[in-house]
């Protein structure tokens, strides 16, 4: 411990280099922890989650719709209580009135993006008890084809009240109309019971599937079917039975729990998991190289110093220890900073509109002890690995030779 001030002095005197190395390390650990947390949440979601409902979708991709005829067939599968169409509309608010002009067509304004789903209201809300809507508002919604129900969060975000109207335009070509954007009227505002269902998102807007269907020439299918189960324990069996029913048909299905579906949905957005993993690895590797290079530079500059320390009577092991301790210190500081960063970001993510909806759906999303200790472990390992070669050089070097090379 009496050598600690000596180590710190070195780090402090080269503070630019030390700082950038620590920062690099921190970014590396931050990326690692955050990516691991998201990926772990997605994995967990596949195993856990609400199993009272399944989601049945096209087996190839979410991009393809399913035939409407499937609804009745799914309802006949044993163990199925209810079925509801739910189509992801992909609508966004036109930024300004001008954005409706022809030149901007096909370029919806993504900054005003929120989840909007076309659903069959009766079965859908019946199987989603976590959404509570005043009965009168629900009634008004049912009676208005252009009516919609919005979550409390969305209402707050845009300052919408019951009776307000707005326009949405989808970026999905079959959901676009020659007449221009869809008009909607807010008929109800729902509250989401996050205790009952942590995935419940109140930044969503629901409208009538019938409105979408009829306005688009009665040609569109169902984006997906939400299936309510009679018995949660039968989730796997029922999912298999549904998919078996449509095997070898023009549109094969994939049925899974809602949580697993959410995980897949996120994965679909740019094949996230693979991308994130490879970015993470590349970054970690790069930073290892940079840090190792910095450390060995630091040692090369200090050849004479190492020789002097040895001449003064420091043993090879002590000198090696000093170098390693310096590298480890960088590792600890970088790792700590990286962890702090990811704690902050992960906390922040649960508050970002759009993202939070998905994330809150993941069972106990957060920086887990396992991930953070892995992150810290990597930081220490990077530090040690970077310090190892220089330390070995310091250990092996002979005083006379090092003094000769001044």
């Amino acid at each position: 411990m009496r050598f600690l001030p000596y180590i710190l002095k070195h780090l402090r005197r080269n503070w630019v280099r030390t700082g950038s190395t620590i920062l690099g390390m921190a970014v590396c650990i931050f990326l690692f922890c955050t990516l691991r947390t998201v990926l772990k949440a997605m994995d967990d979601a596949r195993e856990l989650g609400n199993v009272t409902r399944l989601v049945t979708r096209h087996s190839v991709s979410l991009v393809y719709n399913l035939p409407l005829s499937y609804e009745g067939q799914i309802a006949q599968v044993p163990g199925v209580k209810r079925v509801a169409i739910s189509s992801w509309f992909g609508g966004s608010l036109p930024a300004k009135k001008e954005s409706q002009d022809k030149s901007k067509e096909g370029q919806p304004d993504f900054s005003n993006f929120f989840t909007n789903l076309a659903v069959e209201d009766e079965p859908y809300f019946a199987m989603h008890p976590e959404f509570s809507v005043p009965p009168g508002e629900m009634q008004a919604f049912r009676e208005d084809l252009r009516g919609c129900i919005i979550g409390r969060g969305l209402a707050r975000q845009y300052g919408w009240k019951v009776g307000d109207n707005f326009f949405l335009e989808s970026f999905i070509p079959p959901y676009r109309r020659r007449e221009g954007p869809f008009e909607f009227v807010v008929r109800g505002i729902f509250d989401a019971d996050k205790v009952r269902e942590p995935a419940a998102d109140d930044r969503v807007m629901y409208f009538h599937y019938k409105y979408l269907y009829e306005s688009t020439g009665r040609r569109v299918g169902a984006g997906l079917y939400v299936v309510e189960l009679e018995d949660p324990k039968q989730a796997a069996t029922v999912a298999r039975a549904i998919d078996a029913r449509f095997e070898n048909s023009e549109a094969e299905t994939k049925s899974e729990t809602e949580a697993a579906f959410r995980a897949d949905f996120i994965a679909m957005i740019g094949n996230l998991a693979l991308l994130l993993n490879s970015i993470g690895l590349a970054v970690i590797f790069t930073i290892l190289l940079v840090t190792a290079n910095t450390m060995s530079m630091a040692v090369r500059e200090r050849r004479t110093e190492i020789a002097v320390l040895k001449t003064l009577g420091f043993s090879s092991r002590q000198v090696m220890g000093l170098i390693l301790a310096e590298a480890l210190t960088i590792g600890v500081l970088g790792g700590g900073l990286g962890l702090a960063l990811s704690v902050a970001i992960i906390r922040g993510m649960t508050k970002v509109p759009g993202v939070s909806g998905f994330i809150n759906g993941f069972p106990n999303f957060g920086l887990h002890w396992g991930v953070s200790s892995q992150g810290l472990g990597i930081a220490l390992f990077l530090g040690l690995a970077a310090g190892f070669m220089p330390a070995l050089v310091a250990y092996r070097s002979r005083i006379t030779e090092m003094l000769r090379q001044v």
């Binding site: 002095k9 110093e305 009577g313 420091f314 043993s315 005083i399």
Partner: protein, 234 residues
């Protein structure tokens, strides 16, 4: 640091180099740098080691300081046969028995003068406070107590060398070795360094072996030895 204890003229040599050879092997080639050297230095002596460049002065000095080993022969310093010690024993031994003064001072740039002087004391069991005090005392001896907080780059060459000398004797070794300690200094600074070395020898009883090219520096020593083609001449 008592002067009387080591001022016994009849005492056994504190540096005893017996029949030492040092051979460097470069590929198939063998270079005999030291060829049967014998050198006895009594305690309290001040020896100047001279000789042309490449004659092996530094090599001999390194052997005495225990930072290199002879190919054959014995180097006995302060009663210890240096060649018999393991690498780590040798390091420990150095920290107690020899102080090394370099031509280019070799202070550690990120440490202040006082911290540089304190460095050898980190290897002792002294407390932080004792280390501070002893380092400060050593700086007083070399006349730089007021520069304790300065970094090497804030000091002149002569001052740096004085700090380096303080570092060499702060752990109170019996022997000081110096490799051209004035080689990089102007005449005035060199004079100060030589006076300091004389004082360390006279007042503190340090045995000094100093390599130098400068005849005037050599005159300050009690004895001069000349190394030529691997052999010592009086």
């Amino acid at each position: 640091m008592s002067a009387e204890a080591v001022r016994q003229p009849a005492a056994a040599p504190i540096v005893d180099v017996r029949n030492v050879r040092k051979v460097y092997r470069r590929d198939a080639e063998q270079i005999t740098v030291l060829d049967g050297i014998n050198l006895q230095v009594p305690p309290g002596e001040f020896v100047a080691l001279m000789g042309p460049s490449g004659s092996g002065k530094t090599t001999l000095l390194n052997l005495i300081a225990g930072i290199d080993r002879p190919t054959s022969g014995e180097v006995v310093v302060a009663g210890t046969d240096v060649g018999r010690l393991s690498e780590s024993e040798l390091a420990r031994w150095r920290s107690h028995n020899v102080g090394f003064i370099f031509q280019f001072y070799n202070l550690i740039p990120v440490l202040t003068a006082q911290e540089n002087v304190e460095l050898p004391l980190l290897l002792t069991s002294l407390s932080k406070k004792e280390r501070r005090e002893r380092a400060l005392t050593a700086l007083k001896v070399v006349g730089l107590a007021d520069r304790a907080g300065h970094y090497p780059r804030q000091l002149s060459g002569g001052q740096e060398q004085r700090v380096a000398i303080a570092r060499a004797f702060v752990a109170d070794p019996g022997v000081l070795v110096a490799d051209e300690p004035t080689g990089d200094l102007d005449a005035k600074s060199a004079e100060e360094i030589l006076a300091l070395m004389e004082s360390l020898n006279r007042d503190f009883g340090k045995t000094i072996v100093m390599v130098t090219h400068d005849p005037r520096a050599a005159e300050r020593a009690h004895t001069q030895k000349h190394l030529e083609k691997g052999v010592l001449k009086a």
